[in-house]
Amino acid sequence: MLEAAWLICAFPLAGFAVLVALGRRLGEPRAGWLATLAMAGSFVCSVAVFASLMGRDPAERRFVVTLFEWVPAGDFSVDAGLLVDPLSVTMAMFVTGVGALIHLYAIGYMHGDGDFSKFFVYLNLFAFSMLVLVLGDSLALTFLGWEGVGVCSYLLISFWFTDEANATAGKKAFITNRVGDWGFMLAMFWAFGALGSVRYLDLFGQADSLPSTTATAIVILLFVGAAGKSAQLPLYIWLPDAMAGPTPVSALIHAATMVTAGVYLMVRVNPLIAASDAWAPDAIAWVGVATALFAAGAAMAQNDIKKVLAYSTISQLGYMMLAVGSGAYVAAIFHMVTHAFFKALLFLGSGSVIHALDGDQDMRRYGALRAAMPVTAGTFIVGWLAIAGVPPFSGFWSKDEILAYAWDSSPALWAVGIVTAALTAFYMSRLVFMTFYGEARHGADAHPHEPSRLMTAPLIVLAAAAAVAGVLNLPFTKDLHFMGSWLEPSLFGNEAHLSLGGGAQWLLALVSMAGAAAGIAGAVAVYLQHRLPASRVEWPAAARAFYVDEAWTRFVGGPGRRAFEGVADFDAKVVDGAVDGIGRSVRAGGTLLRRAQSGFVRSYALLTAAGAVALLVWFLFRTSF
């Protein structure tokens, strides 16, 4: 079955091709169904691959499917090949799984849109690129998927392009990502320069032969790329704007899958991290935790429901990076999966809320919706408990594991993590209370209602997953550490081993539970019992995300633009001016010489005589008397 791993990518690609060819003719809803089927097919394939991989001895759980030689030039040679190993298959499974659900949901959500089929074209293309990213057997191929998902997100964010804001958001996303990609490319070149190959197997096998500085450089550059994709500081700025896209897009791309690519990449290259200087992982960890705290703070004061979720996504990604930085690769992946479940759930839920309120995204006009849309509310609440870190929901387990490793790597990280956890609990509760509890604040004309089955079904499935995904990797005994042992072959024993004993772990867990409880309590106090006005906690600085984005915008729009215009003027005036100047000076010389051609025969004679004298003088010099 492993040889057929390429089918995983083939399905969405086929779907894409078919939809491009005759998507318009298929029309709604058939186009959507086709796309969904493609995703389902590829999900089935990945499960099959997973199964056959399980059948092998752990050390044999790696497999390379080489389709064809892609770019062979000199020493540089990359194949279009897939690296099938526990890590990539895990990713593939949840990408396709969650993807399929979101496709299903989208059929309902995009109902009636003019470009219905085009939407699914993009979605399938995205899925394909994402799978290439995940399964690619070399940095180059991963980069192919990497940029592919970037483009798809660009296309999907600006899907409703008639609105300038969407278009701008899409452009912003792509360009910001490109900044990251710059790092990725350089890392790729450097790896090639140092090892003569960008195939993962070579990188893994020879990581230790790298000088640690080189390894560090490569890792940091890759992290720049990852920071772009996974919206870490300071390149996160595109993600909040990306919410301009249709909600399924936000759920699939900007919550569940694409944004986690950065984390995946860092986990993927763990041997390089292992080979690099100590400060590299620390830097990653700190950036991650800083992002987590920062985003959580921003999320506390947002009123746009999707913005809240966006910032919370950033914050959760920060957690994952923290995990990567502290060597808890399994925890990172674990949290990535659980996060994929509950964040997708939350987004889809918010989607159906927005749907129900005819596209209104402002929570201040929500409230008391749980009566109107029980299913949505119920599932949403599950998601909330999961992300807030309330046991036994999945989020608790993954986040707790990360924090444990963080403590192990340095208590400071852990402390920030805990604070973030509390904030997370707070703002998520705030969101839930403002949306589903309290008194209805929406206009009378709005009639909130439960969306169609198509949309609720995915919610329920995801809710279930979000609730129980914790069992994937229970900390109690090594045998319950399913994911850990499953991912072993992909981590080459670079996974940090927890040094603190069970008791300490229990203690940390309790603290984090306390943090979550505190956060929820605070939210209850403010938004249900109104003990103190919301304005006290929603400081404007947080509402404006601490002005980072403004700063960027002002720089690009101000000095940046002026510099560019300066260059353009330089080209027009100086460089081109010089060229025209030469021409002009020649003409000037000509007009000057014309004076000599005065028309007076006697001046001509004078000129002739002068010339004669000159010649005579020259020959006089040559004479020998």
Binding site: R594, S598, G599, V601, R602, A609
Partner: protein
Amino acid sequence: MDPAGLSTGWYLALAVALFAIGGVGLLVRRNPLVMFMCVELMLNAVNVVFVALGAGLNDVGGQVAVFFVLVVAATEVVIGLALVVAINRRRSGATADDVSLLKG
């Protein structure tokens, strides 16, 4: 008899002077006729040179050359005068400076 009694240099010096005077004359006079006369002066300077050098070389070639120079001088004068006549038909009393329509 022996012309070398008197060095060729003297003749040449004289010729050079004559040539220069003629040249300057052509440059400073506006009346075309006088300009032609100046050309004649220059040609005569040449003649002197030819004869003197011929004598110095004990060779008749110089005298032969002078003979042809005379012929050419004559023809040139004829054409020159014809031109002056033709121009004066159109513009009587035209000086060399007056015919300067073409310039630049």
